[in-house]
Every structure is written in structure tokens, then in C-alpha cells.
Amino acid sequence: MLKKGLILLLAVALLGLFAVNTVAATKKVEVTFWHAMTRANLDTLTALANEFMADHPNIQINLAYQGGYGDLSTKLLAAIMAGNPPVMAQMYEDWTMKFLEADALMPLGDQLSPATIVDIPQSLIESNTYLVNGKKALMTVPFNKSAMVLFYNTDLMKQPPKTWDELLQVSKDLTVVKGDTTVQYGFGIRPYTEFFIQFFHQAGGKIFNEDMTKCLINSEAGIQAMNYLLQLKPYSLYQSAYLSDPFGAGKVAMYIGSSAGITFVASASKGKHGWMTADLPAGSINGESMIQGTNIGVFKIGTTQVQRAAAVEFVRFLLSQKATIEWAEGTGYLPVLKSAAASDAWQKYVATHPDRKATTNMILKGFVYPHQANMYNIRSEIETAFEQVMLGKATPKAALDAAAQKIDSEYLSH
């Protein structure tokens, strides 16, 4: 009798185990998401993924950190060549263009509701829309977006400069020289391409002509931007390392940089001086701010229909008002929906975090790089020209002419 009962019990237990196993095997869809997020950014992303999984018990989001963006791009390159990319990943626009060459991505535009698409700021729609088989399609969605803002030391100035002229004047006024050393710089210049492009754009510059066959970096706007930066140079700390540290140390009174650096500025300035962000000082043509950061794409090669559907579900979740606000609060990136930026929840957050006011303003005043598959090389050429001018090796005209010529012949001709 006892024996019989034991056998029955065992059988039931086995059956139960089997049932649980099959349920798990058939129901959980694994979605691997390759990203480059660390620290607070990763914590927030993990929290969002957990929230999503709580609502979607049949989906497992596997966040896989791949190193910095350089590593991420190299790994994606190798994975796609091997026909085995993750289901979804962060990606910059010029990588996306390469992935499209391999026909590796599924379009996301027709997976989103029209209401969501209309809610995404125009500049971000532009940067996620690609020409595929002669038709424009929204292939990716914006993810970790930051805008250029002005960081300023509130102990040194009450009002931040509003125009280029004011920026130059304040930089002059706040530069302190003792003996032969500059103990405090009014401004900071970091010689990377986007820093120059920010000024170039505000002077009315366009990097390429309409049909992307000619580089216009040596236009009047280019020379104007270079000359202006040359005027700022004597009052600026010039270094290739991030400016948040010297700003925090009180060595630099203000600088223009990506809002992604907010957390770094906060920790560098802590206990030393007050700081705030402001809208960018406007140039002669506009006061627009460069929006940078990656988008999310979903791969159609090496993935199953079910996985892609689950990934799309996660993308929809990330593009919900609640998620994008949670993301922005936790990371310092921008909310990527206009309705989210205008929502009570976000406005309430901004009221207690005034440094986010300028970044929110800049979402609607943003501009992005045009799509060009050779953007990496083109950026290098522009950066070289920028450095040459800043280091006094060439005049603005000579450096920009040389860059434009090289870009035309090497990277735009075919």
C-alpha cells in the first residue's frame, strides 16, 4: 500500500516537472539586447527591462553589455557577418547604414502606432528614417539621446550668456591670469568634430549639399564658426579630455558639451561650486542644439519571427511615455516623446531638477547629422581641420578647403 502510494507520488511529481519544463520551454521567448550602457544608465535599463518582463511573463530580455560603442560596433559587425546578430541592439546612424547594406534590419515604422510616430520629435524621426529600396522607412527608434547644452558655474555668473557675442565677452571677463599661468579659463574647447559642427550649424552651415554629392564645410558658415572659435581660444582651456573635470575643479567657468555629461559634472562640482545648464548661446542664424546618441534596431537575420515580435513589444514599451520619462530621470538622457517632455510628470521632475530644463528645451530645437555611410571618415577629416586651425597650423579657409576637397574626392564620389 505504502509502495503503491510512493510510486504514484513519484509519477505525479515527474509529470509535474515535465509539465513545468515544457511550459517554460514553449512560453519564454528570449530577446538578447546588446548595449553599451554602464552604471546609472545600466541600472535604469535593467529596471525598465524588469518592469517590462513583469508585464510580459513569456518574454525574457537578456541585456548584454558589449563594452564601449567602439566595441559594440565591432562585435555587431562580426556577428552580422556570421549571420548571428542579437535580436536587438543600440546603434548609431552610420552603423545602421552598413547594417542596411547587409539587409539585416527589420523596419520598425509599421510596428508603431501613428500616434507614437507623430509624438517623436522631427529631428529624431529624420535620423531614424532611411532610404531602403528607394523608399523612406523608419528603421530604428531613438533611444539614449542627449543634446548639447551650456554648463556654467553659478558662483561666477548669475545669468548665462545668450548669444555668441555675450559668450565671448563673459569668457573674456572670467579668464583670470596670474603671473604667467591662467588660473581660471572663461570657456573650454574640446577638439572633436561635434563641437565644431555645433557652432557651424548655428552659423547656418550645412555639411553637405542637397543630394549629398558635395561637402560644404568650407562654406562661409564654416569659416565664420572657425574664426569665432579662434577668438574664444585665448580664453579657453583647450584639451581633448572631457571638460567636466576642469569645470568641476573651477578651472573652467563654462563649456558646451553633451547633456550626457550631466552626472559627471554633478559629481565633479559637488562641494566645490554651484552649476547649472542653459540653452546654448545662439549664433547668427539659430540657437539649435546637436542631438546625439544611439537608436535601437531589431535584426531580421538570425532571429525568429517570435523573437522579433517580442523585441518589437519591448521597443513599444520603451517608447511609452512612462518608460521614456523613467529612462530620462534615471540617466540624464532626453525623453524621446514630445508628449512626455510636456507631461506633468516630467515637468514636476524638472521643477526639482532645474538642470534638466535646458535639455528639455533643446529636444525641440535639435538638429542631427545627415545620413552618410562614410560619416566616420568624414568626421575624422573635419576633426583634423578643426585641430589644425586651433593649433595654429592652418588658416580656417585652408584647413576647411583641404577637408572639403578630401571628403568630396574620397568619400562622396561614389
Binding site: G70, S73, T74, L77, I80, M81, D94, W95, K98, F99, E101, A102, A104, D180, T181, P191, Y238, Q239, S240, A241, P246, A249, K251, N374, M375, Y376, N377, S380, E383, T384, E387, Q388, L391, K393
Partner: protein
């Protein structure tokens, strides 16, 4: 009877021979599979890739002959990075070796705390380059760095902007290279020094040879196989300098105005930085290979004149 025995013996030997050979190859197989997969195949394949227009995902990768090589040779940045690499090799390998030999000789004498110094000198070699670079970023920091503190505040020299002034970028890389690799050279030299038979020194002493003579006529010649080995290894390592530059100027940017762009950084720039032109990158890698190969061959030839094996 005798004949059949001999045949039997031969058969046995043949069977044994093949069995032994098979066994030996079986033992070699794991190493061969690993080396073949990760060393030989990529090495040979890189030649194949370098003769094709291997633009990341382009569906067709046409054969282009030497076009990738021509393109590389036409690129100013290639020549600049070649020059920086040669500069680095010349300015780092010889001083590192000379200094390492000097320290090794000191450490070889019976001084107090010898094992402490030996460990101390070897530490940089096993220190993670990224971590070390972080320290160097601080030492060479223009405003707060230790080095500028000495140069500026104690010696009254101008502040040097080590990382942003193109003139000083290579010196930083070289100094870091010397600091990093000297420990490895010291250990090799020490091993070489300890291999020298004490009898020679005793005999020299009897003949009244002084320290310098003993060093010049006993130590140096008998150390020459070690010196040669260290030289070849350092040279090859120096030609492949990458990590330091990559970490000091993040993202493979190669420093201000590409002033610290070396061949390997250039290779990364062409292949993986974002252009993803793998055909051209393979060409760069092969050019570097041929360069190192030729220089090593020349070294081998020249070594016959100055390397003495005991």
C-alpha cells in the same frame, strides 16, 4: 629463415614507426587545431582579404589585386603612422634595453633587497595597460600632474600640455613604453647574466681585469644571445604598439592631429574605427608583417657578427 626475420623486423619497425608517428600527431593535434584556427588560418586569410574590396557588408567582394595596398600607400596618414612607429621603435627599444641591462647588472650583484627590486621592476609589465594609462594621464596632466609640478614649480619651466600639444604626444607614449616594458627586459637579462659561468670572472680577476673590462669583454659577449633575443622580441613588440595610444587618446583617435597615430592604431582606424574597410585593414596588417619580417631577417644576418653562443 634469416631473410624472413629481417622482413618481419622491418614490418614491425614500419608498423611501430607509423604507430608512433600517429601517436605523436595525436598529441600535437590539440595545439595544431587551436593554432590553425586562431593563428594560421587568419594569417593566410588576411592575405586573401587584402586582395579584395572587403567593404564590411557589401554582398559582392570583388578581387581588386593590389588596389588596397596602393590605396594605403597613397594615404598620408599611413606614412605619418609609419614614421611614428619607427620613431617609437628607435626611441624606446634601445633606451629600454640599455637601462634594463644596467639595472639587471646592478640587481645581479649582491645588493640588499634584491628580490624586492626585481619584483618592483617587473610590476609595470604585469600591470594592466588601461590602469597604468590612467595613472599616466594624471602624471602628465597639464594643470595637476606630478611631472609638470616638478618641471614648472620646482624648475621654473613652462607648463607642458603633454596630451594636447602634438610635439609631446610621442614622448609620452615612449616614456610609458619604457616604464612598461623595462621589467620584462630586466628579467631576461638577469637570467642571461646568471647563466654566465663565474669561472670567467675569476680568471679575469686573476689577470687583473677591472670592472669595466670584465663587463665589456666577458659579460657583453657572453650575454649576446640574450641581448639578441631581447632585441628581436622588443622590436616586434614595439612595431605593434597600440594599447597605450588607444587608451591615452580614447577611441583610436591617435592623439591631436594624429600625432601619436602608430601603424596598429592606423590599422584599427581603417578596419574597425567605423570605416570598416577590412580589405584595406588587412593590407595594413600585411605591410606591417612584411616590414617586421624583413627587419628580423636583417637582424638574423647581422647577428652572426655579434652574437656569441657559448
Amino acid at each position: 629463415m634469416k631473410r624472413s626475420f629481417a622482413i618481419g623486423m622491418r614490418r614491425y619497425r614500419r608498423g611501430r614507426f607509423w604507430r608512433d608517428t600517429a601517436q605523436a600527431y595525436l598529441y600535437l593535434l590539440p595545439a595544431f587545431v587551436i593554432l590553425g584556427t586562431f593563428t594560421f588560418y587568419p594569417f593566410i586569410n588576411s592575405f586573401f582579404v587584402s586582395f579584395h574590396s572587403w567593404l564590411s557588408f557589401a554582398p559582392v567582394k570583388p578581387f581588386v589585386g593590389f588596389a588596397n595596398y596602393v590605396k594605403i600607400f597613397q594615404d598620408d596618414l599611413f606614412w605619418l603612422s609609419l614614421w611614428h612607429t619607427v620613431y617609437y621603435v628607435l626611441a624606446s627599444v634601445i633606451p629600454t634595453m640599455a637601462l634594463a641591462l644596467f639595472i639587471a647588472v646592478l640587481l645581479n650583484s649582491k645588493i640588499r633587497g634584491r628580490s624586492f627590486f626585481r619584483t618592483a621592476f617587473f610590476l609595470p609589465y604585469i600591470t594592466n595597460t588601461v590602469a597604468a594609462a590612467m595613472v599616466f594621464l594624471w602624471i602628465f596632466n597639464r594643470d595637476y600632474g606630478l611631472l609638470n609640478y616638478f618641471l614648472h614649480h620646482l624648475l621654473g619651466l613652462n607648463l607642458i600640455d603633454w596630451f594636447n600639444n602634438p610635439h609631446y604626444t610621442m614622448p609620452v607614449v615612449i616614456l610609458m613604453g619604457i616604464w612598461k616594458f623595462i621589467g620584462f627586459d630586466i628579467v631576461l637579462f638577469l637570467a642571461g647574466l646568471q647563466n654566465i659561468d663565474q669561472q670567467y670572472y675569476e680568471a679575469a680577476e686573476v689577470d687583473g681585469a677591472t670592472g669595466w673590462y670584465r663587463f665589456r669583454h666577458i659579460t657583453l659577449p657572453l650575454l649576446s644571445p640574450t641581448t639578441f633575443f631581447v632585441f628581436i622580441i622588443s622590436l616586434i613588440g614595439a612595431f605593434k604598439i597600440f594599447q597605450q595610444v588607444y587608451v591615452l587618446w580614447p577611441g583610436g583617435a591617435g592623439g591631436p592631429l594624429n600625432s601619436a597615430m602608430t601603424l596598429m592604431v592606423y590599422f584599427y582606424h581603417v578596419g574597425f574605427g567605423g570605416a570598416w574597410h577590412l580589405g584595406q585593414a588587412a593590407a595594413v596588417a600585411n605591410i606591417l608583417f612584411v616590414l617586421i619580417f624583413i627587419i628580423t631577417m636583417i637582424q638574423m644576418q647581422l647577428s652572426k657578427r655579434w652574437v656569441f653562443y657559448q
